[in-house]
């Protein structure tokens, strides 16, 4: 089955991308599979300056999920452009840069640095930063800010596809989706992690030094599906589904509710070769369940009247 997807000028050989922060810069996974088998690689979050990230401990296991508060540790956008990007097979796999900043100006600057990079297929805007401040509302939970950041990135992104990544930690994801669309986003990707926490009753401390952390993995799939379902119905731009995908069936569920493509995050930790075979498994499963094509299947969820 033909698995190519093409939306908003972004071409993917197949609908499987790897999610930011779970696949390094891609090269870490090269020993476990051929990166060219992937539809896309979303690189780990990039900031203008290098960041050391949050103190340890940063990760904890939870029922069918995990918490992380890495705090966007990264070597800075410059390092990515000069060291990582050239080593990636970007002619054969869409490489997406994931942008992290805490105000619109900085986002614009980051976009400016990446706009001229031939190897970058798209920019993903991480307006979620759920890990960074304890309590309080991240600016990505405010539709007005989402719109402003999207505009700022779009203005400096040249002809790059701009994908805005939404946080599920909001009262109404549809409002956030519309804010990004109105800000000029070429597509949306969702969901980022759910805001969560874990504690240790023995030492009476949070299990994550940052206290509040981001929940990911199969546990959150029902929330992710619901958010994607709502976003698809709220906007006309394409939507990329993320959250808890750990099998071809999971991935197809997101396509069924209308996603154009998916990103695989935490499942890359279950085994490092997970993402490589997924597109083939999806194609085989589509045939098994009698779908005529990817396009025929996508968005074909039958809702009760």
């Amino acid at each position: 089955m033909d698995m190519q997807v093409n939306f908003g000028g972004l071409f993917l050989k197949n609908p499987v991308m790897t999610a930011s922060g779970t696949f390094g810069f891609g090269l870490e996974f090269a020993p476990y599979g051929d990166l060219k088998r992937l539809g896309g690689i979303v690189a780990k979050g990039l900031s203008l300056k290098p960041r050391e990230g949050n103190p340890m401990p940063r990760i904890a296991e939870t029922p069918c999920g995990m918490l992380n508060a890495i705090g966007i540790q990264n070597p800075g956008v410059e390092h990515f452009v000069t060291k990582a990007l050239p080593a990636l097979p970007w002619k054969d796999v869409a490489v997406v840069a994931n942008l992290y900043a805490c105000d619109a100006e900085e986002f614009g600057e980051l976009a400016g640095v990446l706009a001229g990079e031939e190897g970058v297929a798209a920019l993903e805007v991480n307006v979620s930063c759920p890990n960074v401040k304890e309590g309080g509302i991240a600016f990505g939970q405010d539709p007005a800010q989402i719109g402003r950041v999207t505009e700022a990135v779009k203005k400096r992104a040249g002809n790059k596809h701009v994908m805005v990544k939404l946080s599920p930690n909001v009262t109404d994801i549809a409002v956030c989706a519309r804010a990004a669309a109105e800000g000029g986003a070429d597509s949306l990707s969702l969901i980022n992690t759910l805001s969560g926490m874990a504690v240790d009753i023995r030492n009476r401390k949070p299990r994550i030094a940052n206290v509040i952390a981001g929940l990911s993995g199969p546990a959150i799939k029902p929330v992710a599906l619901r958010c994607v379902h709502q976003a698809v119905r709220a906007v006309d731009i394409p939507v990329v589904g993320i959250g808890g995908i750990a099998s071809a069936e999971d991935a197809l569920e997101f396509l069924l509710v209308g996603a154009q493509a998916v990103q695989v995050g935490t499942a890359n930790f279950l085994r490092p070769d997970f993402a490589f075979g997924l597109a083939d498994e999806m194609a085989a499963l589509l045939e098994t369940i009698g779908a005529a094509s990817l396009d025929e299947f996508r968005g074909s969820l039958q809702l009760p009247l």
Binding site: E28, F29, R58, I59, C64, G65, I70, L270, R271, P272
Partner: protein
Amino acid sequence: MSLRNCRNVKVLEVSPVGQSKTAGGFFELRLENPDWDGWKPGQFVMIRPASWELDMLWARPFSISSGDKASVSLLIQAVGRGTRRIAELRPGDTVAMWGPLGNSFAVEPDTPTLLLAGGIGIAPFRGYVEQHPHPENLALFLAHRLPLDCYPYELLSKTVSSRCMLEAKPSDLNCIIDTMRELIREYADKGGLVLSCGPTPFMRTVQRFAAEFGARAQVSLENRMACGVGACLGCVTKDGEGHHVQVCTRGPVFWADKVEL
């Protein structure tokens, strides 16, 4: 293209370790060798039983303790939910395994080398001893909390000069620390090498005395890991300059003066 890979392998054997058998929860897990070209002592694997399905998402890291063309052996202590479930595996069960991962202990064939193990930290040293060209230059010290016969001590003590001390009461700990101090001083004085593996407080003690006496010492860290391949940044420690570096790829072995514990 690389020595590393990820494969489904079969469990060959799960056998209790030590004369007292299951008492301390120590066991040896023998798995099919997934076509490795080789591995170095100090390196580890990530393993995840297929039966875990979706609960417990992360694989667990274990030092490679021994291995040949046919099999890979791990020495494991059941300490939590994951290791307890690993202990329940049976021959024929399927396990996803990737490795060999990380760096390895320094090997200087002609240098007197002291192996300091805290508890199950003894696991990588079995392979170290097996692969060392001159085991007569090796000496092992094991600090243990459970009766000695819980540990795979005999696997090593037959080959290298070995000593062990039980930490049963608080005053024992002082004795152990004093002994470690003397040993590290001795190896510093004779230009030897000190290699260590064990719980973090144990590693800190090694680090402290290595600094005090200028010993060349390595510590192997056991940080919690999710991916094992350097991607998740969940396992980091601070290097000599205070930068966060991945224990899984930049370690697990660090020179004692190049890491903050």
